[in-house]
């Protein structure tokens, strides 16, 4: 297994340790708000285990992916809102 992988977060390149989840990578990138709520508030993850749906982002054009349950792969394009 490679020691690190490179992903794109909102167009910016980021290298993270292999095994890092997308949610952790987004926080490492300095982004706290992952999505906008129905009334426009910025939200980030709270449960860390795929239940709260607050960590939803777009991963390789798949909308509403739960970033806390998906591990970063090389070249992944991640978009927050």
């Amino acid at each position: 297994m490679p020691e690190s992988v490179a992903v794109w977060i909102d167009g910016m390149p980021l290298r993270v340790a292999a095994g890092t989840t997308v949610a952790a990578a987004i926080l490492i990138a300095g982004q706290a708000a992952f999505r906008r709520s129905v009334s426009g508030e910025g939200r980030g993850p709270i449960c860390g285990m795929g239940i709260c749906f607050e960590c939803r982002v777009s991963i390789d054009d798949r909308e509403h992916s739960r970033s806390c349950q998906i591990v970063c792969r090389d070249g992944m394009r991640i978009r927050t809102r």
Binding site: G19, T21, A24, A32, G42, G48, F53, I70
Partner: protein
């Protein structure tokens, strides 16, 4: 789209301690055992990402047994629907859908944290205790970050110690239970010396962190993200700066999948007999989804379910004595960390309760039932399907969610249409 099909004698949902233990014991009978989990790796919440570096002797023993057992693990698999009569589950994965048939199903779906609403709890970087811990275990560095840990229960101590080992600064642990309850707890722990020793060791690791009883977070402040929290202890009110807030008020069992499959359950968990068999003949349930009680209890229940589901009832019955002792500890925990009524007054009228649909406390206060809350406010109708706000309204208004309708989790249309 047609589903890929597969079969297991014993299908286990959840690869936490209970799921792993049940799979290991079921496999000893020679059965074909398949374990599903929606996380990338086995271990559940407590042993998350510990496969290569177990944090305890217990974890290393079970990881070793599990990987040597010959059970098949399907990770990243989310169960979205099932049919108890036809004994099959529909499973969604990142790139495909599966239909798995089984002879016996063991549900070890675990528990989730209970959150309570207070002003600012929706700010980014205000998270659950296990929630932040899970993110750190998944690669988030917290060295030099200031983390306030708050809520209730022994997890606060364990998580704070973990954050400190990762280099974080934990100035305060705010425990809502009173010092009298905690003193009584320590006395009752005399029957469980190993636990008492664990508690003492944790306190030693946490020297320099203030452990405040009868203390609660009243508000979280910040512009676009969390910057500080307001704490209250008696008449004392003060502000603490922090990068993260880790806050949760105990656990609620994940009963949704069991209920969807027709198993009887209540607010305390899925109902099972002493062999962990549910009201559905072919479905066994083990671990925290049958009642929150800690890792020892979960492992024992898992072993019993695994033995019983494969007809090894003599072996299952040998564990009943150990189970009684573990249950005693669970009962002590529950009575110690019972939630104080002051926590019911934290939400202000404009505080959001349902985070999926942004429903405020003001709109929910006048509702008479979970059903009316759903119909009139859309509370619980978003993607989490009431998993976060359900336990909140259970505490604040005494509401109990009714049945579960498929899909158990939002799913792609292709997954649901065969």
């Amino acid at each position: 789209m047609s589903h890929e099909r597969s079969f297991a004698d014993i299908l286990v949902s959840g690869a936490g301690p209970a799921g792993m233990a049940s799979a290991v014991r079921a496999r000893e009978s020679g059965a074909k055992v398949v374990v599903l989990d929606d996380n990338p790796r086995p271990g559940g919440q407590i042993w998350r990402n510990e496969q290569l570096h177990p944090s305890s002797h217990q974890a290393s023993v079970w990881f070793r047994k599990f990987s040597a057992s010959g059970v098949e693990v399907i990770a990243g698999a989310r169960i979205v629907d099932g049919d108890a009569k036809r004994r099959s589950l529909i499973v969604e994965m990142e790139d495909r859908a599966l239909k798995i048939e089984y002879r016996k199903l063991i549900l070890a779906t675990g528990a989730r944290e209970r959150f309570l609403p207070f002003p600012g709890w929706t700010l980014p970087n205000a998270m659950g205790v296990g929630g932040l811990q899970a993110l750190v275990k998944s690669g988030l560095p917290v060295a030099q970050k200031r983390i306030i840990v708050a809520g209730t229960g022994p997890l606060l101590l364990a998580a704070a110690a973990y954050f400190r080992r990762q280099g974080a600064i934990v100035p305060i642990i705010a425990e809502q239970a009173s010092s009298i309850r905690l003193a009584r707890f320590m006395l009752r722990l005399l029957r469980h010396p190993a636990k008492l020793f664990q508690a003492a060791a944790l306190r030693f690791c946490l020297r320099g962190t203030r452990y405040l009883t009868s203390c609660r977070v009243e508000a979280a402040n910040g512009n676009t993200r969390l910057e500080s929290v307001r704490l209250r202890r008696g008449d004392q009110l003060w502000q603490e700066d922090c990068d993260y807030l880790a806050i949760a008020y105990g656990f609620r069992p994940n009963v949704e999948l069991a209920v969807l499959l027709g198993c009887q359950a209540d607010a305390f968990g899925v109902r099972v007999d002493r062999f962990q068999q549910s009201s559905q003949e072919d479905i066994y349930c083990a671990g925290e989804c049958t009642g929150v009680g800690g890792v020892e209890l979960s492992i024992l229940k898992g072993e019993i379910a695994g033995y019983a589901a494969t007809g090894q009832t003599d072996l299952a019955a040998r564990l009943f004595g150990a189970l009684r002792k573990a249950r005693h500890f669970a009962a002590v925990l529950e009575s110690t960390f019972i939630l104080g009524t002051a926590l019911k007054n934290l939400a202000l009228p404009d505080t959001i309760v349902c985070r999926c649909e942004d429903v405020t406390w003001q709109r929910l206060q006048s509702m008479e039932s979970w059903r009316s809350a759903k119909l009139y406010t859309r509370c619980g109708m978003g993607p989490c399907q009431g998993r976060v706000c359900g336990p909140i309204l259970e505490f604040l208004l005494g509401f109990h969610p009714e049945g579960v309708r498929p899909p158990a989790f939002p799913a792609a249309l292709e997954t649901l249409v065969e």
